[in-house]
Symmetry: C2
Subunit: 301 residues, 2 copies
Amino acid sequence: MITKENISDRLTELQESICSALEKEDGEGKFTVEKWEREEGGGGITRILQHGNVIEKGGVNFSAVHGKLPENIQKALKVSEPGFFATGVSIVIHPSNPMVPIIHMNVRYFELGNGEYWFGGGIDLTPHYANVEDARWFHSQLKNTCDKFESSYYPKFKNWADDYFFIPHRNETRGIGGIFFDRLTAENKGEDAGEKQKLFDFLIAVGETFAPIYLHFMQSKSKLKFSEAEKKWQLIRRGRYVEFNLVYDKGTKFGLDTNGRIESILMSLPEQANWFYNHVPEAGSAESTTLNLLKKGIEWI
Amino acid sequence: MITKENISDRLTELQESICSALEKEDGEGKFTVEKWEREEGGGGITRILQHGNVIEKGGVNFSAVHGKLPENIQKALKVSEPGFFATGVSIVIHPSNPMVPIIHMNVRYFELGNGEYWFGGGIDLTPHYANVEDARWFHSQLKNTCDKFESSYYPKFKNWADDYFFIPHRNETRGIGGIFFDRLTAENKGEDAGEKQKLFDFLIAVGETFAPIYLHFMQSKSKLKFSEAEKKWQLIRRGRYVEFNLVYDKGTKFGLDTNGRIESILMSLPEQANWFYNHVPEAGSAESTTLNLLKKGIEWI
């Protein structure tokens, strides 16, 4: 039977391998390593790369925390057991070049004191300039990974991402979506370790899909030229990213509500973001095309 | 008896006079004027000044909206009557020069379908560089205004501001506080129009305290020289302002939850904000002194 220690050990390896791959491709930036402990139990390793060649600010965080859930979190999770263990790897990368997309990945495992457990996670892409071809390629990578496990996964998790990575007050999605899943647990509640193993394998497969995807975009986009106007648009889109993460993101809220390490939680925020009053892109511009692609329900593949 | 129309008319005059005063002092920037209507009832006038001489981005908004409160808002307000009318003036000014503080002011009137009503509002100051002398002067202005009405107002509303303008996840106040009040209503529930008049007069007095206070800081600080490091600190402090407004501010939440005009609500966000991972100012620096003044319970006067 897989233990929570097996899972958190494997996730630290994932963190390590992703950081190596990103550093190698960036060619200049190095991830810092900060181990931290949480007063109420557990801790983590925060790894941040700032001012690299391609990556302006990126975080690849590992944590494995335990303790008692506050009542509001128990309510939100619809559980009546306060004892918990949670481990995961969370990534957000903000590139310097507006032609390179922002990316987010999270894989996590949650276990309650009563033995109930589930896996969750996802990958989503936020291009400053969206186009159908890149979106199709990105979604195909995710579908390939999902299809190795269950053919129902990709369509289900793709729709879930559309709903989750959505900014109601802007009536737009954060980016071109991806996959999102939560509460994945064995249907057989007995001793079927095989089912748990399969879910864990899927989680790791999602984690291992991250680096090849982002390396592809680093390689193909980071040498592209861009104008001042395109840089400005990037900073505006980053503002929307900040709005999503501070107003809606459940991981951020969970971190703030459980007294998490604040600088690790907010590593997802870009180095710089801008808000210009009532900025509306010109009709027919690449910026306007991008906005038209920030919608739920587009079948990219 | 003062009607809601009397109040909203007087608030549009306040908006007008504040914009004139700020434009005159800025010497360069002009406020745009945008009238908007809300589908569910009412509307407002949004006035924004961008790229002035002193003011980088400032908003002076008036609104008078009515309709039905969504259930979550009824719950939050602890009322069981959906019909509402709300009018107010809201201001946030972000200056270019880090030596000039950010300021916020809000005065508002709320009335339910059943005739129940209350006044609310406040002024608070967020210096990028705080010092005791400026804070004392600022708080004295607020105390003078309060003392003309009730001697209990200033101490009570000053503490309320300390509690309200607080960022729990940073364990720091947004700035050096000010006054905050809500649910001010006549104790005599009968026909005592005099009591309502007095509360309304107080509201307007708070509104009229704003311009002289901010003009004082524009005049005394906007010619001060600043370094690149000081500009960077300003952008970091603005990041905290964004965190407060998106995570905690009840006015922002009310606006988002009642389908308010999003660009008017988020005019409070600065043109540019930055997040550098784990930035800690040097011990003994002006930045570190500022952080030490961002605490609840300091008696400035």
